[in-house]
Symmetry: C2
Subunit: 390 residues, 2 copies
């Protein structure tokens, strides 16, 4: 185990009928609230109505900033910051999935400074003291509801960049699994893929001395993410399955899995971000293409660790280390296919001629994220594996 600091102060309120707590929880930080939301589903299914009622009952003055897209864009963040400044907002409440929460975090950080918010993302400025943030999560996927990270796309430069700062933890997040019962099955699967990806990034980028406690935690989260997702595929409104997936996705990226792992990175996200920056691919769909390719590229580099994963997650006990490692990757890929998440770039209509540009974009992000060991050739090789493997 490596030295670490773990400090996650976010309060989680989880379960049925928890949304009405949002007014009290948010006005604990001030009465002038910026309410950030997406493109309509939270409105349609009545969540925003509940939020407005709760805010009103708690005496809040609410200023609305709807319209956050998935893969949220910088121009919309800037508009939110302008609105928060105009109305002297004292806190922000995000209602939506990871995209809405990420944009809200960027607004919280940007509303208290005079420079452009993008400077945080390119490392030119440091986070000061953001506005307090509460959230109501409506999609099990990103983990943003209980972590300090955010990802925003600069649509001018086609850069999908992200970073974390401990001051960006939401103060309170409300997780009511019923809000996810209407999420379509494809996006439910993409959410599960995202949670699994978060675990695998750390599992396969940590170096010795390994942390057995974290290993079992991570393996359990992968098994659970798959099992819950399978239950949802059979019965989309199964509350318990939705609840299990929601909690697994939160734990998959709340800092706990990384504790003691030393320097870990997001090489699979580095590549996927370039896909979704260029093609507006759903993040989880991009990940289920990149993950098996990246893992196959790791076969020679860390066969024992891949074999441990295969044994503990998929009960692969036959054959030698390399065979087990291979089988684990195949089984994971088969699971992606079973929940209709793509596993080849062709399925995303991404042509081979674009690989150099994608790789170049990914490298730029890799430099900002300080991911070592990659160059243009290696990323193109992984992209080719994502096109042709098997």
């Amino acid at each position: 185990m490596h030295n670490f600091v773990f400090h996650n102060p976010t309060k989680i309120i989880f379960g049925r009928n928890t949304i009405p707590a949002i007014g009290t929880e948010t006005t604990a930080f001030g009465r002038r609230i910026l309410l950030v939301s997406g493109t309509g589903s939270a409105e349609k299914n009545g969540i925003l109505r509940q939020v407005r009622e709760s805010m009103a009952a708690a005496g809040a003055q609410v200023f609305e900033h709807p319209g956050v897209r998935s893969n949220p864009v910088l121009s919309h963040v800037r508009a939110g910051i302008a609105l928060a400044k105009k109305h002297d907002c004292e806190a922000v409440c995000a209602v939506g999935g990871g995209s809405v929460i990420d944009e809200a975090k960027a607004i919280c950080a940007g509303a208290v400074v005079n420079h452009d918010v993008w400077k945080f993302f390119i490392g030119k400025k440091s986070i000061t003291t953001p506005l307090p943030l509460t959230t109501i999560l409506t999609l099990a996927a990103s983990g943003s509801e209980m972590n300090s990270g955010m990802v925003i796309t600069n649509e001018e430069t086609r850069q999908k960049f992200g970073f974390g700062n401990k001051k960006l933890h939401p103060q309170v997040s409300i997780l009511d699994p019923t809000t996810t019962c209407t999420v379509p099955l494809d996006y439910t699967a993409y959410g599960a893929v995202d949670a699994i990806a978060h675990v695998l990034e750390f599992y396969f980028t940590t170096k010795e001395p390994f942390t057995p406690v974290q290993d079992r935690l991570m393996e359990g989260l992968v098994i659970n993410s798959m099992e819950c997702c399978n239950r949802i595929m059979l019965a989309p409104e199964d509350y318990q399955a939705r609840a299990d997936l929601m909690w697994a996705a939160t734990l998959a990226l709340n800092g706990l899995t990384a504790a003691g792992l030393g320097k870990v990175g997001f090489p699979m996200h580095m590549i996927e971000h370039s896909l979704s920056a260029f093609y507006d691919v759903a993040h989880g769909a991009g990940l289920s293409v990149v993950i098996p390719a990246w893992m196959r590229w790791q076969l020679d580099l860390q066969p024992e660790r891949l074999a441990q994963f295969a044994m503990r997650v998929f009960d692969c006990h036959d054959g030698n280390t390399a065979q087990r490692a291979n089988e684990g990757i195949d089984r994971l890929e088969q699971w992606f296919t079973s929940v209709n998440s793509p596993t080849r770039l062709k399925q995303l209509n991404i042509p081979e001629k674009d690989f150099p540009e994608i790789a170049c974009n990914a490298l730029t992000l890799g430099k900002i994220w300080r991911i070592d060991g990659y160059d243009q050739d290696k990323i193109e090789a992984i992209l080719r594996l994502a096109n042709t493997a098997n």
Copy 2:
């Protein structure tokens, strides 16, 4: 999954050479510090010297309250409160194992009120705003370093009572595994038993709908606690094994395992507390006697859950549900024996004639802890199983 609130604001600083941070971390809350410690080991191995140096460098004025015993007693808590009041202490720093940290929590709570501190423990008064607490942990066992609970023994009434309040979370806990490298093997094993007990209490008192995410987390912690302990038995100064056990014990009772489990309880601790209140038995040693007996008493009540535990933790796949359930208990008991932790009351020299009085004492605690389903006969039956089973 049941509804839950999870909020654990304790900052964990984990690893080698982390103790020198204690001065800065503690003086963030004030300069007048009550330093609470045990009966000598932290002095002998130089930890307290490091703490004093760090406190002095940070400009703290330190008032010392040493001499906390294992199974800490009320009279010593009261003396600590008097000292904290006399010197207007603004924060408390605990250096030791769970006993020292528990006593420090009681001092933090008692130092800000005018009534006797025991009133908290018998439910006559509520916690207000305790003094801030920092800790340096020197024993992997209780989890007190990252939770809101404390246990104190009233030596006059022979009541070993405990309870939790969210305001009792330490602000900062420093976990340097090297501090545990000199813990004797028997107490190391008792610590692992304690961690396992914390997991099992929740695992076997939760009711449907179960929480699969938490199940795998808990099973992983039990496996890890045993595996790390085995490594330590072979090489007591194995830093990595000490680190893994320390972190597993912290996670075993930091609120995370209980999230979503609904109403859980501590029936095994309820019984063990009466043993250690009467006989000054090491807590872990008492638990390794009570656990198999209590689990055998559960065989008819929750065979499926016991069988799941047996399958996932001990790979017991043969036989029917009842046989697997039984084998899991046997295997756990065998592991206790393998690390020289007792499994029968006779080994603790506790005579059968005392069972009624022990049961009566346990029931009193059970009422305060609101543990349903127990009476004098049932507890005596469990104690007889702890005497004679197999």
